[in-house]
Symmetry: C3
Subunit: 428 residues, 3 copies
């Protein structure tokens, strides 16, 4: 349970809100690189943290992300012409370079210097892996580029998708660090999804539906351990790293690719659910990659031409009551991604956390909220740099392991929870 004030603090991400300022200290995934496939290709509208922006790729392959609207009289640059190193407004031909700097106002003499004074709010847009990342904060605080393993392995080892979710970012993220719902909501999919089924560890998930949670602080956030009974008095541990503010990783299963998420505010009632899948040491198989494209695992199918899921609240997520009755899907919704999204959206755009009743399995969520609150308050009060910004904090892995009963997971898996180039994930 949160007070109204703390719920507002954590869920409001506009530029003038504390959490909005904290989000603006991190590199955020902004677009799939495939959305800007070629030099001089059409510009793309992007909304992030409540700001309406336009992204484009210029004739030299440089990426730009800037205010969507022309500085002259407010026309959307989505109608713009992407030509010769800049994006030109189609109304009166004002032209901007990839930084947002105006470089031509046809009606004004070049020597007047008028256009030098015109600059749109612009943010860096940088390709790392399959993703274009942006940093929307002050220049002085700009951190090093994203160091996440999924976007720094070779291209053949990784796959990323994004999906529009019609809820606040926080309730989406809380689903990402909530291992306990897997035994219920995803119990059907564990047995059928090509990217989940077949792992030896799955049997523990199914057999022990009362995991015990242990959560320990990590430099960038938390390690959330969910302990289930295994053979011979041992424990089956699933360890989820959370790095502030919104990076989460699902513990691995067998030799399947490892998946995880970013939950990025579009505005306070919508977010981008970014989903990646990668293998640290081998290429994804054709079958794996095709399954991801087809919407299995943490990915999904789309309304054609959009990033909205084909199953969405307007069609009741294509609820299948017969499959629910037969237990093939626990909630009646097909697919892991939409199983989560449907329930999180059903809470309403911003869930009212003053009405919750939390239990021990919500410990990860409770501690994550606590650390978010502490970090945002410290940043506002003393200017302290929030966790998760430096590359070291991002060098984390999820783990699935069977451990002796007397071994604390964080100690036993210290090395496994760090990125180790050339060493595969620790998984059961």
């Amino acid at each position: 349970m949160l007070t109204r004030e703390v719920n507002d603090l954590l869920t409001q991400t506009g530029a003038d809100r504390p959490m909005g300022q904290m989000f603006r200290r991190y590199w955020q995934p902004a677009l799939l690189a495939s959305e800007l496939p070629d030099d001089d290709c059409p510009p793309v509208r992007v909304k992030l943290l409540g700001e309406r922006l336009i992204a484009f790729r210029d004739s030299k392959g440089r990426y730009g992300l800037m205010d969507e609207f022309c500085a002259h009289r407010g026309v959307s640059l989505w109608f713009g012409r992407n030509e010769q190193d800049g994006l030109r407004c189609p109304y009166h031909g004002w032209k901007y370079d990839y930084t947002g700097q105006c470089i031509e106002v046809p009606s004004e003499p070049a020597e007047s210097g008028f256009c030098d004074k015109i600059k749109l709010k612009g943010y860096p847009l940088v390709k790392v892996g399959d993703v274009l990342w942006t940093y929307m904060g002050d220049k002085e605080h700009r951190p090093p580029l994203p160091a996440w393993e999924f976007c720094n392995v070779p291209a053949e080892q990784t796959f990323t998708s994004k999906r529009w979710q019609e809820s606040n970012w926080l309730q989406a993220m809380e689903g990402g660090i909530d291992s306990s719902h897997v035994s219920f909501l995803h119990s059907g999919s564990l047995q059928t999804d090509p990217l989940f089924r077949g792992a030896a560890g799955n049997k523990y998930n199914q057999a022990d539906r009362k995991p015990v949670f242990e959560v320990v602080d990590a430099p960038g956030g938390l390690f959330i351990g969910a302990r289930r009974n295994a053979e011979d008095g041992q424990y089956y541990w699933r360890i989820t790293p959370w790095v502030m503010p919104s990076f989460t990783m699902v513990p691995p299963r067998g030799d399947h690719p490892v998946h995880g998420h970013f939950w990025v505010p579009i505005d306070d009632e919508n977010c981008w659910a970014w989903s990646f899948d990668y293998h640290p040491t081998r290429a994804l198989s054709d079958h794996e990659r095709q399954s991801m494209i087809d919407g299995y695992g943490v990915h999904n199918q789309y309304v054609p031409g959009t990033f909205r899921p084909r199953q969405n609240k307007d069609n009741d997520y294509l609820m299948d009551r017969d499959a629910q009755r037969r237990g093939e899907t626990y909630s009646g919704v097909w697919g892991i991604a939409l199983q989560d999204a449907s329930l999180q959206e059903s809470m309403g755009p911003i869930v009212d956390r003053t009405k919750e009743n939390l239990v021990s399995t919500d410990n990860g969520i409770i501690m994550a909220r606590h650390r978010l609150k502490k970090a945002v308050q410290a940043m506002m009060k003393t200017g302290a740099t929030p966790p998760g910004i430096v590359p070291e904090h991002q060098q984390v892995r999820s783990v699935a392991a069977v451990l002796p009963a007397d071994k604390p997971f964080a100690e036993a898996c210290r090395d496994d929870l760090r990125v180790r180039p050339g060493v595969k994930q620790t998984s059961v």
Copy 2:
């Protein structure tokens, strides 16, 4: 004409508003019994008086109506699994019985007593006739079950439907007690509708379009008499009972089944128009029942899979100007139900009654508003029980009769206006 204050008083039905509290003193129709046809069938979302609720039927056939959202973290229980005497949230498996009591929290030891402390707001849901009724008020004030004749005759004698109306409940109800519009709006349908045409009394409706209204107090509300000229100096009386707050009955026609309505707030800008048709002493014929299913009389056709009328404001109610010109339908809209609904919705979600110009034929409406206001103010001030709650008040019938000019209708029809088991309705 009402003041802004009285208009607000009568139209606002949230739990914190006086009229909302008064509505919560009555049994209200909540669902058709056919919406929960089997034990353990899928749960159904219901919105009533501004509250979002979930209805279900458990393994033992017990009906439950409770808060739509799980007490844990707010997921909609519409995604729930209806299994073994309870509805289970698909997120973490919390389970509720038909009263809203939590009976299982899988992550917590049963002996902790945690789940005993979790109870969703729950209301009784009881089948009487074809309808599931709920009572949303305090336990101490819970009245006896609904005693309306239409839901207490044998099943073969009755038929009930419901329809979503996009307006406040009051302007819908006011249409239900307004006999004077029949000579205009429904004049075409009187001659063509299989459930209206052919009654001897119809000719008076058509011939005399200036009915004189006499309205008398009844224990539960009003008897609204509309007097038209008949042969030999006699009067043709059509008498509409209104029982607080929102039960209305249309006067009968010949031996046709008798129909009536409940107007139940969904929220303040939407209501359920419940429509019933029954015969006190005989089974409905196959042709009558099929006509009701086909949307004739007070019933209507639907957008498939919904309770929204096929003719609705998004398609201008399938306005037929040619039929209007020919007089087959007076307003250009087909069907009695949608003739009323289209006009009531056209007033806007909550009609502004400060701008009205009422006339003598509006007397029934004027007196109904007055009694509603008096009852709600008395209840708020002194705790007085509002009329219409006790079964005796509900034992009313509508009447159509030709009476001598010197007979006051209420006296002449005293017995006819009461339910008399085994005696058919008084009709012309």
Copy 3:
């Protein structure tokens, strides 16, 4: 750039706002005459300046425009029966004549005089040309009928259409007096549109994309001259008259019909873009008229049964990136009308003029805003009659001419800028 206060002043047109009161001093185009084609034809809903109105044509061919809602209980008269010299509400048969005067209340005795006291707010509706005009102000200020040339030439010489635009009226009107965007936004269409291509003057538009603007006061508003270089040190002038508050004319091209617009508030977030095309001295050719019907020139295609453009913001105006790349359409949107509308709508419903950066080519816009502000403030303070109301102010023409460098355009074209019956437009 405007202050927030001045932006509000100029964009808000409700009956209680200064600009709303100024708009109510002018005759406004309300409907196409073809919307009420016959005596006793179906009534038509119209929203103007935020008021919801109903228009009809009675049995004697008289036009009425009045409050949409019946004075009795607020039903929309769109469902009314248009019969025998009046529009009858279908609920209880109240009937209104073309002035809004109630002429029958069936339930009340005629001798009671009740209905004489009932009058809906009503406005005159007068056919001049192909347009039905209304005047929504006080009787005492009612001006002479519209004297615009386009609606006073013979029917075979003129064509008018209207289109729903999803923006405030002012940003639409500002597009109409902004000659400088033609060289960019419409550069493709100048070469392909059958109603634009082929004029000798077009070559100057294409060759000189840095027009110099000279704006001079006119009795009713402004003459906005855009000067481009022509041969031999001469200037090619395109002169746009603007008459307050929202009449604009495009300068002519060769012997093409001349076109222009009215921009009329529906409410503050929507406007009617009226578009006319006429030739002062000859009939439109079949090909010209068919091109207008087909949506060329300043006209457009529609969503069938509506005045909404087929290309609209819900379908991204059928953006054609390939045609944009090839330069066939500069912004990727086809058609001159939608090229303008798409950009103006992209600014948002009411553009925030506190964020603009205006340049010299915006001088016409700057001066028009200034005159609007001055006129509305004078009217509010001293009751001064705003410009553009008297017929003389409306007798204007647009001009395209090549002039010697030392001739001021207003002086050189004094006669050409006035309507001269039997004399064709001055055009290149």
